[in-house]
Amino acid sequence: MKRRDFMQMTGMGMGALMLPSVPIFGNSVSSEYLLEPGIDVALKKRYADIALNATKSKGATYTDVRIGRYLQQFVFTREKQVQNIVNAESFGVGIRVIANGTWGFSATSDVTPEGIAKCAETAVAIAKANSKFQKDPVVLAPQKGVGEVSWKTPIKKNTFEIPTSEKIELLMNVNGKAMENGAGFVTSNIFSVNEQKYFASSDGSYIDQDIHRIWPTFTVTAIDKAAGKFKTRGALSSPMGMGYEYLDGLASEKIAGPNGTVGYRSSYDMVEDAILAAKQAKEKLTTKSVLPGKYDLVLDPNHLGLTIHESVGHPTELDRVLGYEANYAGTSFATLDKWESKKFNYGSKLVNIVADRLQPHTLGAVGFDDEGVPAKEWDIIKDGILVNYQAIRDQVKIIGGKESNGCCYADNWDSVQFQRMPNISLRPGTEKRSVLDMIKGVEKGIYIIGAGSYSIDQQRYNFQFGGQVFYEIKKGEIVGMLDDVAYQSNTQEFWNSCTQICDKDDYRTFGSFFDGKGQPSQISAVAHGSATTRFDGVNVINTGRKI
């Protein structure tokens, strides 16, 4: 029973740049309904056992059961009005089995003993039917059962308990302040998600998790009608694994940057950012167009996160490396021989990329993944060398791995879980260095803040990134803003041009709330931490055109 609508964001004035469409799961309900508790954990265990017994009796050699209640609240506004409020609930059970050495999956919204038993039988029947195409039987890396456990995102304020009127008030204030400061148009949104998911497997795990995520964001547009020009500036917030406390705007979580810019750690001041965004969008209307050429780039964490996502996150997904995504997302240049050589210079010696599902406040933080593997941390790139991938239980076994590193995720109970990206972050530098210190050392460069246009090939060699705000650096100083900037590079060349990384005091996370992958497409949420980082001699193009 699948119901998934895609809300076209272009019609909402969000611009096609970042959000082509937003998936909405399940049924529209009232905001009060979202606060009602789901079924209790003892009942979930009883239901899970019904499925585990049913599949076993039909010949399954492995089974996992996910009983999930997925809640979404999305608030959309523009200027002085609310455009839409989405309150949605999706509840059901997904059962995955191995029978005849082949995966089978079935899902149902009929969460009753009869419904679950029937669904379990279907999953086994599908596995058996598909087994005639299976060349090698599926083998899972071992995972010891963890018994009955629970995990909850450590939130201070449950977003769903905050009255919708309070959220609207905040967004109206954001819009109003942006308009007062020069915006012609503004759209603002708060996306909130709560996954109440129960996982049980034939390994002996019964895991109850309550996961919260939030993303406040906006786009400000400044217009010069006489010149027929418009410029936008998007929010510098990050989607977080937090509650509504992310919007407290605590001074202690702000990092003052050059030219009045502000970096936000785990607390965001949306109104302050909207005011600055309006001023910057207006300034962009008359800003000088960049001269193409080689520049040293100083990349803010709110920008670099997306570059990490595309050029390190995706190519080190083991399913892509093995060819499972060849028809859609693509494969990877980070092939097994490069990893096996233990000599592949992905980046300069300064580059240490770590994968984790543990960092507090991040989108990727969980207790366990969707096949019952406990959250952990591991190195992907160590001192510039490719040392590992992101893997799940069956695929890690294909490359001779001993255990999964916990990267399995499904975006809903009716989606089959597969390999998704954990947090992938660049470790901060060990030497004390602020952004200003870094800029001081740059002769000819560009300081880029915020994520803009992004594109990369299907094996993740060649990429192009834009940004939100660009500052020209000359002889160690910022001399003004630039426009029409995009940089093009090759992943290995780019990461080998990394020459300086600011220290942990500048470390912040960026995130992707709706990262798409797979056929049929699923979303996932993932964070990327870094401190401001310098890359030398990167090719910058001018994107200005006349039509």
Partner: protein, 452 residues
């Protein structure tokens, strides 16, 4: 039973509307069965089938509206859903842009349902996957593909007397074939309403040939080249442009159709005079939907809540290079005193009779592009997009394909591209649109990619 007949659907909708106590109420009923099979490494990786029948009720008091959805259809559940929608509406903030619901419309009769597709079962899908995997494994190639078929309906109705029903079927198939040394890759994609018109083996053969022919590509310097964009490559840039023809954005000065000094570029010649783009929901090759303005998957173009019920008609968007129409929300059209044309569900780029092979024959020097990939907007002001070629890029000299070339990154605007039009061939269905292969001069490639 997920696919209801018109009469069955109307019965449920009438019942729902009879429960209404609001100023206005609309109901949107969607039913479908969707099946898929996915394979990679010459083996099936996932497959499944889901059915759904879902009712969405929107109640309106003044300018406040609320929506509730449900999957149960007994009288009690239907009434409960109407009451819930009404409660949500009462608590909702007022929408100053709310426009009252439409009365009955004249919907076109559209043949978007095929019994052959409706009859697809898991064995049929498995057979399709086999037809695609088998020739690849026999030639020592690796196939990865995806098949998804749907059968379903959308019914809409409201308390102003509007009722509409449409049933539709669809199949989407795509296949990537790679050489086992990783040096060649080919691709083919097809979409149909009627599965009897889909030849999986033939599409796979195209991908096989491209994979084999693209192996060991040579590097050419990036720069401006004459290109032939196959329909699969051309469709994405054109679709992005068609998706940017919203009248409100143009009026507000934040669109490529906004004009210096205010106003829009409606009526201006923006493209080569051979550019003609229109939409026709009754076109037999790409049957569209009878109703637009956001509708269900089997009825309208868009999703994101019920259709506003506007009837889709034949619309000319670009004629002889001149922008003839833009689409509007009902609110903005009313404010501007123009016809509220909804966005189309698919578009037709009028071409000629020349085949792709003939176009290649007539090309002195150029690049043949199979497909574009990872296309993202760079500048919404000029509709500048970036992306890369993928799965088969070839150098043409004196009318023949000379050798495969490495993939390029492009930075190009469809507006500039359609001013540099050299020729348009015979249109082919692509993602619900009809698009010809396009020969374009001075297409801008900005860098090389090592990706295969």
């Amino acid at each position: 039973m997920a696919v209801l007949s018109k009469e069955e659907a109307k019965q449920i909708i009438d019942k729902v509307l009879a429960f209404s106590k609001a100023d206005e109420t609309s109901a949107n009923l969607d039913g479908s069965r969707t099946g898929n099979i996915r394979y990679a490494r010459n083996s099936v990786s996932t497959s499944g089938e889901t059915t759904n029948l879902s009712l969405s009720v929107t109640s309106v008091f003044g300018k406040k509206s609320g929506t509730a959805t449900i999957n149960e259809f007994d009288d009690k559940s239907l009434e409960k859903t109407v009451r819930r929608a009404e409660e949500i509406a009462k608590l909702a903030p007022e929408n100053p842009e709310y426009v009252g619901m439409l009365g009955q419309q004249n919907y076109l009769d559209i043949k978007s349902f095929a019994a052959s597709t409706d009859a697809i079962n898991p064995d049929f899908r498995a057979e399709a996957a086999f037809k695609s995997i088998d020739p690849c494994s026999k030639k020592d190639l690796t196939a990865a593909g995806y098949w998804e078929d749907s059968t379903g309906f959308t019914a809409i109705g409201n308390t102003k007397g509007l009722f509409g029903y449409n049933a539709a079927t669809s199949v989407d198939f795509s296949i990537t074939v790679r050489t086992n040394d990783g040096l060649g890759s080919g691709y083919a994609v097809r979409d149909v309403n009627d599965v009897s018109k889909l030849d999986v083996a033939l599409a796979t053969e195209v991908a096989i040939q491209k994979a084999q022919a693209s192996s060991k590509a040579r590097a050419l310097e990036p720069g401006k080249y004459t290109v032939i964009l196959e329909p699969t490559a051309a469709v994405d840039l054109l679709r992005n442009m068609m998706g940017s023809m919203d009248g409100r954005n143009a009026d507000e000065g934040r669109s490529f159709l906004g004009k210096k000094g205010g106003g829009t570029r409606l009526g201006e010649k923006l493209f080569d005079e051979r550019v003609n783009i229109y939409s026709d929901p009754q076109n037999l090759e790409i049957p569209g939907s009878p109703f637009g303005g956001g509708g269900g998957r089997f009825g309208g173009g868009g999703g994101g809540g019920g259709s506003d019920g506007r009837a889709q008609e034949k619309v000319v968007w670009v004629e002889n290079g001149v922008v003839k129409n833009m689409y509007y929300s009902r609110y903005w059209a009313e404010k501007k005193g123009v016809k509220a044309i909804p966005p189309p569900s698919g578009f037709i780029f009028a071409g000629g009779n020349e085949s792709l092979a003939e176009m290649i024959k007539g090309t002195e020097k150029g690049i043949l592009v199979t497909r574009l990939w990872y296309i993202r907007a760079v500048d919404p002001q000029t509709l500048l997009y970036t992306g890369l070629t993928r799965d088969g890029t070839f150098y043409i000299e004196n009318g023949v394909i000379k050798y495969p070339v490495k993939n390029f990154r492009f930075n190009e605007s469809p507006v500039i591209m359609l001013n540099n039009l050299e020729a348009a061939g015979k249109p082919m269905r692509q993602g619900g649109n009809l698009v010809p292969p396009l020969k374009i001069r001075d297409f801008t490639f900005t860098s090389l990619s090592d990706a295969v």
